[in-house]
């Protein structure tokens, strides 16, 4: 990050969901109070001091993150800032010119960014998401000006086609081509929808983009609306994201006041009205036809295609649906040109992809990497590897529609086609890392529980099929698995995949199929030996302390919530099975893996 040019002292505080949860607003107040107080260092008095809220810059786990910009100096980032640290930072760093080393971000913070290419997220974490002028100052709304002034709708579509942008919602369909269908579709009223119903558990890319830079998404939508010929649009955002909703509302209002939305945008004859729709908690609404039904005020059930939304979509009018990240890619494609854009990434997958990195990895958060980087680089170089010196076991990519990849496939390059070949998928971008203490049968069961609950019930393969698969997984993890269960799961999975109506059912078996494909031995151990090697399925754990491995530290006794463990200094711990509630607290906390 570069030094600031102006003479203003700026304090940037991360106010994404994670930042706010960690106390970002309290930290902002603390800075404002110190700046206002009498005994503030002289340098602060002489200069303008600005405390600015920014969106997510990625490393959520270290929140509250604060950047201090002093004129002519490199920016200094502080991690885990709390209000009580603020006075010292102001006195020593802003006043005295010496950064407070003990709280400044360490090398691992910068390692997190080293292999990233932050293009879509360039201003996320820099721009004030609630200040349109800040966005404009950073070059915002320049792309739509260029489009309206210099380009025909066909030019825009051509440019997006040349950039080879593929939909970031998961499927990877070429965006320019999708637009062509809707543009060519007859009709005078066309709708443009931004799908911000990010329901994949383990994904928060769209939330972070909207919270961090909502005008970027609005500008992307304007470009698309002009290219396709849409005059009305909706941002469909899930209700679980209150902060994102609040920021979109604010952004829509001010964009309209400034003439970027509404009739005759920027004095041209292009008009576009944009509304916000809040979801009401249904995962299937991320599927585009279900999403349309939900906007219409119906139960959010998918509809058979054809007719495709491009022909008959919202209220039977031609409709184009794209994902948040896809829209957020557009302004920079227009500004920098398709040639620049298509130099990033691989031959078939251009640009960057944003991932939500979480689970058993040291640096969890939001990352943006060029297509083609390997899964290993993503987890070990960007994410810093596995904490607690444990071993990597699997990475789940693509959420409930995706799959689990084992260690052998860590060198798979991240692009749409390689991931599908490996049995996973890009999905929307959730990446959940698992270590040796995570059971693969359990994770398959977890996803099936989710898809089964979220199945809308319209088509039988999905409604009954996922339920049957779940029942089989439940009995396997309870130690009641039968001979032939694995084959049965596989054959059910194939049937559900080919016969379900929408993407939810068609992809629901993927987590089961990939865990069987790569971790078959673990399924077999559950079924034939009644053992859970990862010690995660409570019914298959004995809860006995292994005397040879126990180092007599007594941690298990401390963490047991029901006092079922007896231990004395220098002695091996003992678990009273009558009292034990099988909560696994002892297993999770034992540093020596000494409980079987």
């Amino acid at each position: 990050m570069s030094a600031v040019k102006s003479d203003v002292i700026e304090v940037h505080v991360c106010t994404g969901t994670a930042g706010v949860a960690s106390g970002a607003y309290e930290v902002m107040d603390a800075f404002n109070n110190v700046f206002k107080s009498k005994d503030v260092p002289a340098i602060v008095k002489e200069r303008d001091c600005k405390v600015k809220k920014t969106g997510c810059r990625g490393l959520c786990e270290r929140d509250v993150l604060v950047d201090i910009y002093l004129p002519g100096e490199e920016v200094v980032t502080y991690e885990h800032v709390t209000p009580d640290k603020v006075q010292t930072i102001v006195d020593e760093h802003i006043g005295g010119g010496e950064p407070v080393k003990k709280w400044a971000a360490k090398q691992s913070y910068y390692d997190f960014y080293k292999k990233q290419k932050r293009y879509v997220l360039k201003d996320c974490g820099v721009v004030d998401p609630e200040d349109i002028d800040d966005y404009i100052q950073l070059g915002g709304y320049e792309a739509i000006k260029k489009v309206l002034k210099e380009m025909s709708p066909e030019d825009v579509i051509e440019e997006v086609k040349k950039a080879n942008l593929r939909g970031r919602g998961g499927g990877g369909f070429p965006t320019g081509l999708k637009w062509t269908f809707c543009r060519k579709s007859p009709g005078d009223h066309k709708y443009l929808i931004c799908n911000a119903d990010e329901g994949d558990p383990g994904a928060f890319m769209d939330r972070s983009i909207i919270e961090g830079n909502p005008h970027d998404v609005i500008e992307g939508m304007l470009i698309a609306a002009y290219a396709i010929g849409c005059n009305e649009g909706y941002i469909y955002c899930r209700a679980e994201y209150p902060l994102a909703i609040a920021r979109v509302k604010k952004a829509l209002k001010v964009a309209e006041e400034r003439g970027y939305l509404g009739d005759n945008i920027l004095g041209t004859d292009f008009s576009f009205t944009l509304h916000l729709k809040e979801g009401a908690g249904a995962f299937v609404c991320g599927e585009e036809t279900a999403l349309l039904a939900s906007i219409e005020g119906e139960r959010g059930m998918p509809r058979p295609r054809p007719p495709f939304p491009a022909v008959k979509g919202l209220w039977q009018k031609p409709t184009n649906v794209n994902n948040v990240e896809t829209f957020a890619n557009l302004p920079m494609i227009i500004k920098n040109g398709s040639e620049w854009y298509s130099n990033i990434g691989t031959e078939k997958s251009k640009g960057t992809k944003i991932f939500a990195l979480s689970g058993k990895v040291k640096s969890t958060g939001l990352v943006e990497v060029p297509m083609g980087i390997t899964v290993r680089e993503l987890i070990f170089d960007v994410g810093g590897g596995i904490p607690k010196k444990r071993k990597f076991k699997a990475v789940q990519m693509g959420g409930p529609s995706g799959g689990c990849l084992p260690e052998e496939l860590l060198d798979t390059p991240i692009d749409y086609d390689s991931l599908i070949a490996a049995g996973a998928m890009m999905g929307s971008g959730g990446v959940v890392v698992m270590d040796e203490t995570n059971c693969m049968v359990n994770i398959a069961k977890f996803f099936l529980t989710f898809t089964q609950r979220e199945s809308c019930g319209k088509c039988i393969p999905c409604r009954v099929g996922t339920k049957t698969m779940l029942e089989i997984l439940e009995r396997i993890s309870a130690g009641k698995g039968r001979e032939g269960d694995i084959d049965l799961l596989e054959s059910l999975a194939e049937d559900i995949k080919i016969s379900s109506l929408c993407g939810l059912g068609q992809t629901a078996p993927n987590p089961v199929l990939t865990t069987i494909r790569y971790f078959r031995d673990e399924y077999e151990k559950h079924i034939y030996e009644h053992k859970c090697p990862a010690r995660e399925c409570p019914d298959l754990i004995e809860f006995v302390v292994a005397e040879d491995r126990c180092k007599k530290c007594g941690i298990c006794k401390k963490v047991c919530p029901v006092d079922a463990i007896s231990w004395e200094k220098g002695k091996v711990a003992y678990i009273d099975k009558d009292k034990c509630v099988k909560c696994r607290e002892c297993i999770v906390n034992c540093p020596f893996n000494a409980i079987d």
Partner: protein
């Protein structure tokens, strides 16, 4: 705030809410959301009143509300504890956090304490995976939890609720 008995509720606010949406297409969900925002839940009587206003049958409305996880047909606690059961939280042990709620308040998923203090809601993903495991209590998010840390938070809220009553 004690929960009012159904017959004490003044349902006339529903008319005002519906007025804003009359003639607008696709307004079913926003109307239900706004009415629920006002009363905390959606009763049969409320659905009838909405139906009268929008010229829809209560059954049609019920069909819509029963589809979505965020509509409730019974009053809920003053504090809604949302335990995230997303993937990242799952692999980091969020199942135990729900158990701690059960231990502290005696409620399971979807249940409310008798004094209408607390409701437990297991949710799919609240998108704060970077700080898993995560819970939300009303609009406040708490992350990087352990079962014991969460127990302390619940105890604080229980105390707070008692003082407020």
């Amino acid at each position: 705030m004690a929960v009012k008995a159904a017959e004490e509720l003044d349902l006339s606010k529903i008319d005002k809410i519906c007025e804003k949406y009359k003639g607008k297409k696709g307004s079913t969900i926003p109307v239900l959301q706004e009415v629920q925002q006002e009363y905390g839940y959606l009763s049969h009587e409320m659905l009838e009143r909405i139906g009268d206003n929008l010229n829809m049958s209560p059954h049609q409305l019920y069909g819509v509300l029963s589809f979505y996880a965020q509509f409730y047909t019974t009053p809920r606690g003053k504090y809604v504890i949302r335990v995230c059961r997303g993937t990242a939280c799952h692999v980091k042990g969020s199942g135990r956090i729900s158990e701690v709620v059960k231990e502290e308040f005696g409620i399971g998923n979807g249940e409310t304490t008798e004094d209408y203090g607390f409701t437990l809601e297991e949710v799919s993903c609240i998108g704060a995976c970077g700080m898993a495991p995560v819970i939300m209590i009303n609009d406040k998010t708490y992350g990087n939890l352990t079962p014991e840390k969460s127990r302390e938070i619940f105890k604080d809220y229980a105390k707070k609720f008692k003082e407020e009553e």
